[in-house]
Every structure is written in structure tokens, then in C-alpha cells.
């Protein structure tokens, strides 16, 4: 089931999606991707680099964002382009929230450009591991 162009308006927010970032998932990402940098597996290494505990791979977070977009689109071929800026680390044992908003629509191509982001609620406020980022998608 794909999203139809006529169903979408500029400024519309996509339904957000929250995901718990577990150590098991980050380890599974390391194994599946081949990125075995110890920063993503070892608290001692992470602390030596100035972080409170293991940091999730940036591409784990971008991959989660892409999965959520494909879910919304209902079609993996509808994701045409993604450009993300990594602006803050994500730590294991916290929860990330993926969000997005329709920035512009192209009626002739039946495509949309979306502003997309990933945010995290922390004790000291909201952090934005991915912000000022965009995705271009094809609508049905």
C-alpha cells in the first residue's frame, strides 16, 4: 500500500516512530554491517572517547530512519534520495524518535521532499542526533 500524491500536503507531519536502542541491536548492526569499531561495543573505549557509554553507529540511526520512511511509503523503490547530518551521538539504552514533515511537492514528477530528523529525550532536554536532513520520495 503506497502513499498517494493527492493524500499529501506541504507542512504535513509523518506519523512519528520510536525505537529503543538496545545493546543487542547495536551489536547486531555491528555484525551485519561489518563495522566493528569498539566505540560501538565497549563502554571502556566509549568512556575514553568522552561518552558515558557505548555509542550507536550513525548508520544504525540513519538505517532506522530509512526503514521508517520505507514503512510509511509502503514501497522500498519510492525512496529516491536521503541526505542526513549527524549532529549528536545516540547511546545504547535510550530511545530514538524518527520524524518528518513534507517540505515541498512536485506535481509533475509526483515526488516530495521531506524534512527528516531523529531526536532523543534526555534528562537535560531534547537532543537531535539527525537534524536539518532531507529525503526525496516518489508518491503513487
Amino acid at each position: 500500500m503506497s502513499v498517494r500524491f493527492e493524500e499529501v500536503v506541504v507542512g504535513q507531519e509523518l506519523p512519528p516512530f520510536a525505537r529503543a536502542v538496545t545493546r543487542e541491536d547495536v551489536k547486531a548492526y555491528a555484525d551485519a554491517s561489518g563495522d566493528q569499531n569498539p566505540l560501538h561495543q565497549d563502554d571502556v573505549v566509549a568512556r575514553a572517547a568522552g561518552f558515558p557509554r557505548v555509542v550507536a553507529h550513525g548508520m544504525y540511526t540513519m538505517g532506522t530512519l530509512a526503514s521508517w520512511l520505507v514503512d510509511w511509503l509502503g514501497d522500498p523503490s519510492a525512496l529516491l534520495r536521503m541526505k542526513v547530518h549527524f549532529r549528536a551521538p545516540v547511546f545504547v539504552d535510550e530511545s530514538i524518535e524518527c520524524g518528518g514533515r513534507v517540505r515541498s511537492l512536485d506535481p509533475s514528477a509526483r515526488t516530495a521532499v521531506l524534512d527528516v530528523w531523529v531526536r532523543v529525550q534526555r534528562d537535560d532536554g531534547v537532543e537531535w542526533p539527525i537534524r536539518k536532513s532531507e529525503a526525496e520520495v516518489r508518491l503513487a
Partner: protein, 132 residues
């Protein structure tokens, strides 16, 4: 240490990567990809092998993995990659900017199918922290 700007345009040897079902399934699980098709960002696997892995072992660059942060990532998909197909990834140093504490190295990687058509292009900007 300043990165050598003369290395802009350097291309590393291409890497072949087969999207094997077990690997694709494991990656899909790790990024929460549901439903049909290949998770779009799985192309990061050959992209890293063709690009970042060469960058950190390139004696002409002399950068240490521990000093690298992933700053930006872009993909342009011409079509979704298909389960079982072989992609060939080739990375080029597109630009080296900045100096001192914050340098930026941008890699461009083209991933092509067996007919030579580009399936996806990746652009990865790495932040290289200096000694300060």
C-alpha cells in the same frame, strides 16, 4: 596533522559485494526494516569497504579511525538493490577541506550492477579531528 589536499581525486580499487540473503536479513533486522525488498542503506557495507577502510589504511593520508566522526551521509538510489545481486563499489576522495582541529574528507562512492549501471551513489563526509 593536516591532510594532504593533493589526494583529492584519488580513487581506490573497486570492491565486489553480493547481497546474500543471510546478510540482508541480518541487516534488515538490525535497522528494523520490515516488509519486502532490501533495506536501502545496506549499500553502506560495500561503501565502507571501498572507501573508509581504504582511507584509514592509506599511508598517504595517515588518519586514525579513532579520530574520525561520521558527519554527513547522502544516498541517491537509481533503483533498489536486489537480493542476490552483485554490486561493485568504487570510492573517490571528492574533497579535503579545513585544517587543524577540524578537517573534512568527502568520499564519493558509485555502486554499479553487473551491466555497469549505477544503482546507488553515496557521498560520505568524515570529520577528522586534529591534535588540538
Amino acid at each position: 596533522m593536516a591532510l594532504n589536499h593533493d589526494l583529492e581525486g584519488k580513487t581506490y580499487p573497486p570492491v565486489r559485494f553480493r547481497l546474500e540473503e543471510m546478510r540482508v536479513r541480518a541487516f534488515a533486522g538490525a535497522v528494523g526494516h520490515r516488509g519486502p525488498g532490501v533495506p536501502p542503506t545496506i549499500v553502506t557495507v560495500p561503501e565502507i569497504e571501498a572507501g573508509l577502510s581504504n582511507v584509514v589504511s592509506d599511508p598517504e593520508l595517515g588518519v586514525d579511525l579513532a579520530r574520525i566522526l561520521h558527519g554527513e551521509q547522502e544516498y541517491v538510489w537509481a533503483r533498489p538493490a536486489a537480493l542476490g545481486e552483485v554490486l561493485t563499489a568504487e570510492s573517490t576522495i571528492e574533497s579535503i577541506r579545513g585544517k587543524g582541529a577540524m578537517q573534512f574528507l568527502t568520499l564519493r562512492t558509485e555502486l554499479r550492477d553487473e551491466t555497469g549501471r549505477v544503482v546507488v551513489s553515496g557521498r560520505s563526509t568524515l570529520i577528522v579531528r586534529g591534535d588540538e
